[in-house]
């Protein structure tokens, strides 16, 4: 009679709950795994598109960068809606070894002033185009792609939150600064994925 007491319902409920949690876990892994970070954009190791664009002051910026690692941020005025992303970019802009450029889809009046207001004054704002976005396979914003001086994509990802920038840095194997390490160790490490 134990079987009757437990019955089909008890077993079915347990199995349904286990299946739902298991499947949601699989979905979560699919969305946050290392592969997922390259869902849009370009795959790691692939040659990045080459371009040269002048900012509003006439300073020409190129990709791939001459020496530094370059972070291309595909964004527009909506970047202000992502304060944690802005904070992450601000932090990254203080480093000397990463050149950050914001590539808008077309020319946006006041984009530079807005970026300046967000505390990203040192970051170049370039007027891109839908064609350039297409070459990078970027359909959603804000999106970020790390390109190294050899012209290869190091990492690319949608960036809605600061943790995605951190993940992107991990994938791009950008060493942490001393003050970013737990406990403030002065050792520089290269994060492995």
């Amino acid at each position: 009679m134990i079987a009757a007491a437990i019955g089909f319902v008890g077993i079915a409920v347990i199995l349904c709950v286990a299946a739902v949690f298991g499947l949601l876990g699989v979905g979560q892994i699919a969305l946050s795994g290392a592969d997922a970070i390259e869902r849009d954009g370009l795959a790691r190791g692939r040659p990045a598109p080459r371009w040269s664009l002048a900012d509003s002051r006439g300073v020409v910026r190129s990709s791939p960068p001459a020496s530094k690692l370059q972070l291309i941020v595909f964004a527009d005025h909506s970047l202000k809606s992502f304060p944690s992303v802005v904070a992450g970019l601000r932090e990254l802009s203080h480093r000397g070894d990463v050149e950050i450029v914001i590539l808008t889809r077309g020319r946006h009046e006041g984009a530079e002033a807005l970026i300046d207001q967000l505390g990203l004054g040192a970051v170049a704002v370039l007027a891109g185009s839908a064609a350039i976005y297409g070459r990078y396979n970027v359909r959603v914003m804000p999106f970020a792609i790390f390109v190294d001086s050899a012209g290869l994509v190091r990492a690319s990802s949608l960036v809605n939150h600061d943790w995605q920038i951190a993940k992107l840095r991990q994938v791009a194997e950008i060493p942490l600064e001393a003050d970013e390490l737990p406990g403030g160790s002065s050792t520089r490490i290269a994060s492995a994925v």
Partner: protein, 185 residues
Amino acid sequence: MHAEGIFLQLAVLGCKASLAVLLLAAGGAKLADLAGFASTVRLFVPGRLPRALAISPVLAAAIAAGEVLAGAASLSMPAAGWLNPVVLAICCCFAVAWTVGYVRHAGRACRCFGALSRQRFTVAGIGRAVGLTLAAAAATAGVPQVSIELSLLTRLGLLGGGALVAMAAFSAAAAAGARREPEPA
């Protein structure tokens, strides 16, 4: 055949519920990646290529929807005796498909769980399909009516649970599909 003893009855009920949940998950995941599953179905459709191309998406959708319906019915109506042979027949089809797939298309993706499946047609897969068939055969054994006689409310509750399983499988497969097959620019 009637299952005697507590453990046998639990095993029969477990097989029945497991197969129902499995069908719901498999069907839900396939629905999220119908184009991918259609490419697998195409391997089994006889005839010239254009005809196979035309039929396979319809067959893929029918198989996926059939699995969801069979799973939902089996989960919410365990007392319906006619469902047991239906589930057994479905599992037999799995075993046949895996065997044919292994013989003719070894190395091709099975997509049994849509984009969630990384499995290819292998001997181990045939073993799993045969295992499912045995479980479906075991689920046809009789159990005390009191353990499978459900009220309408309980049936609806189980149907809701089944829907959650199918939706979770759909979402997970959609996420996995988006990861593996990015749209071209």
